[in-house]
Symmetry: C2
Subunit: 340 residues, 2 copies
């Protein structure tokens, strides 16, 4: 089932720092992963000038033409229809056609979802797709939040789908043999939670999964569970609260560390430790969120992704491909040159 040469389509026009960060991140990933192949999707005249450092990669890097990007504030479904040759659409089509094993976009995430739904379609018995966002947890592993923002008004049965999809991803792409599942709530007692959480609690308990019950938001970071299931609105609020606080704390730490000579000296000595801390907390280190519930591997990244974030995302995507997940989701037609 596993592929030896993961080939990834990269939406080179999506994201705040496109196309530079997407191209630079792809080149970095290609250098780090000798078996990786990348298809940069975008306008060749914009991409080619950025490829002067691509020598030596040979056939491992190629361009696929596309016409413009879907802007970050465009209406996702409408824009994917009205811009059929937009870079995200072309990138997803490469996955649908079996020319790429997975694709990555740091652009409009709603548009990536719309492109995946129309070009790859939903998996059987999945009512709604979801976004899985990986959190680096305190045990050194990854806890996946599903849904992190795709479905903002969920039914309890969709949350049961999210649990199944999250476990499938955790088992294959993250290598967790028996993923533990929690349900995001405002308390661990069964009397807590809103009406949706209480209904979902019943359904999750009936699944053939290692369901551990409701977890508070700290369960995203503690490592007590591998998959945290949530309504997409609530999941997105949890994600953005966590990001917001992390930003404020790190900014406040920088302020305080500059406040006087003694602090500046201390901060200079502590710098390597602070850098390690930053890496442990940095969303770029995990960097790629899979769309779950569609018949193919599509990853989305933060709009602000820089070259490091892109490179990290492609590493995650390549690992998911190597796990055999891409083939499970979408048995691929034989591909000319796939083993070349």
């Amino acid at each position: 089932m596993t592929r030896s040469l993961p080939e990834l389509a990269v939406d080179a026009l999506g994201g705040d720092r496109a196309p530079e960060a997407l191209v630079a991140g792809s080149l970095r990933a290609l250098r780090q992963l000798p078996d990786l192949r990348v298809i940069l999707v975008g306008e060749p005249e914009r991409l080619e000038p950025l490829l002067d450092r691509a020598s030596g990669l040979g056939q491992r890097l190629r361009l696929e033409p596309a016409q413009g990007a879907i802007s970050m504030d465009a209406h996702p479904a409408r824009a994917t229809r009205s811009q059929p040759r937009a870079s995200i659409n072309v990138a997803v089509e490469l996955v649908a056609a079996g020319q790429a094993d997975a694709c990555f976009s740091a652009g409009n995430s709603g548009a990536a979802m719309a492109a995946a739904l129309t070009r790859l379609r939903r998996q059987e018995a999945v009512a709604r797709p979801a976004i899985g966002t990986p959190f680096p947890n305190r045990l050194g592993g990854t806890t996946l939040l599903v849904d992190a923002g795709a479905q903002v008004d969920c039914r309890a049965e969709w949350l049961a789908d999210f649990a199944r999809l999250g476990c499938q991803y955790a088992r294959m792409a993250l290598g967790v043999a028996e993923p533990k599942v929690g349900l995001l709530s405002n308390g661990e007692e069964p009397t807590k939670g809103n009406a949706l959480v209480q209904a979902a609690h019943e359904r999750l308990g009936a699944l053939q999964l290692d369901y551990r019950g409701p977890v508070e938001p700290r369960g995203l970071l503690s490592g007590e569970v591998d998959v945290v299931v949530a309504d997409g609105f609530v999941g997105n609020i949890a994600l953005k609260s966590a990001e917001g606080v992390a930003e404020v704390i790190l900014a406040a730490l920088r302020d305080e560390a500059r406040s006087d000579l003694r602090s500046r000296l201390g901060a200079a000595l502590l710098l390597p430790a602070l850098r390690r801390l930053g890496r442990r907390l940095d969303w770029r280190q995990v960097g790629a969120a899979p769309l779950l519930g569609v018949r193919g591997l599509v990853f989305i990244g933060h709009g602000r992704s820089d070259a490091g974030a892109v490179s990290s995302a492609l590493t995650v995507a390549a690992a998911a491909v190597r796990s055999g997940l891409a083939a499970t989701l979408r048995p691929q037609p034989a591909r000319a040159g796939a083993g070349a």
Copy 2:
């Protein structure tokens, strides 16, 4: 309207560190605020041994007998009915009877709400009460989250009430002349949000308030608004995500700072700055969340509140009383000795 001598009833039996932290925090507040008066509510035989350092406070401190506390995991409404002489019930009754201007509890917050609803009752034209949780924001002020957990399945019109109540509190107790209001959402664009947020957006726009539209969770910390309105389930998830991340970052910082000699030396030099940072982020520095929508001032604190947190909470409560808010919510009968 303002009272010169705020008199606060303290639920001395509520919270993980009761009664010691409640008594010690009350004594600290009494020493810091020369005009403060405190009524410690609890079993006299448990409290009196803790009062050996209370000399010199004279009539500014007194005990009010109560029989036991409502435990943290008890069902709030049921327990407040079955334990009528529990400390939280007695503390709220002192407010209802005009013998205290406000009360504070670090115990079961649902029980505090139940006690407030039965003994003080709802304000007119308020469908549901809410918890207002203060966040220290980056501008050095306070942003109030309403609701932080009282109502987990809200209607849009309740969120409009939360906005009015939050503004009333911000105007009087926090001294913000024209509070700016935001609606907690997963994005600032009007196309974002779930069905409840979209319905609430319409209603908030129709109020005579300075409504600034949807805000992401970072709006709780940025200072861009003074009041953030949310469904209580979502608000509690945002609050607990923020707390969870702050804990993880500070723990990781401690780990890293101890990892080698250079880091330990740097951390020692940086210690005063780190302590300032800790104070800026510490929930104990704000420490008291008002119950909004009831006819009297009831504050709740974190179950883990230590003496510093209690002292800080009483300072917040005393300021709210001095602002005249207690009198606005509940015109008090004349009180013997109020001016003594």
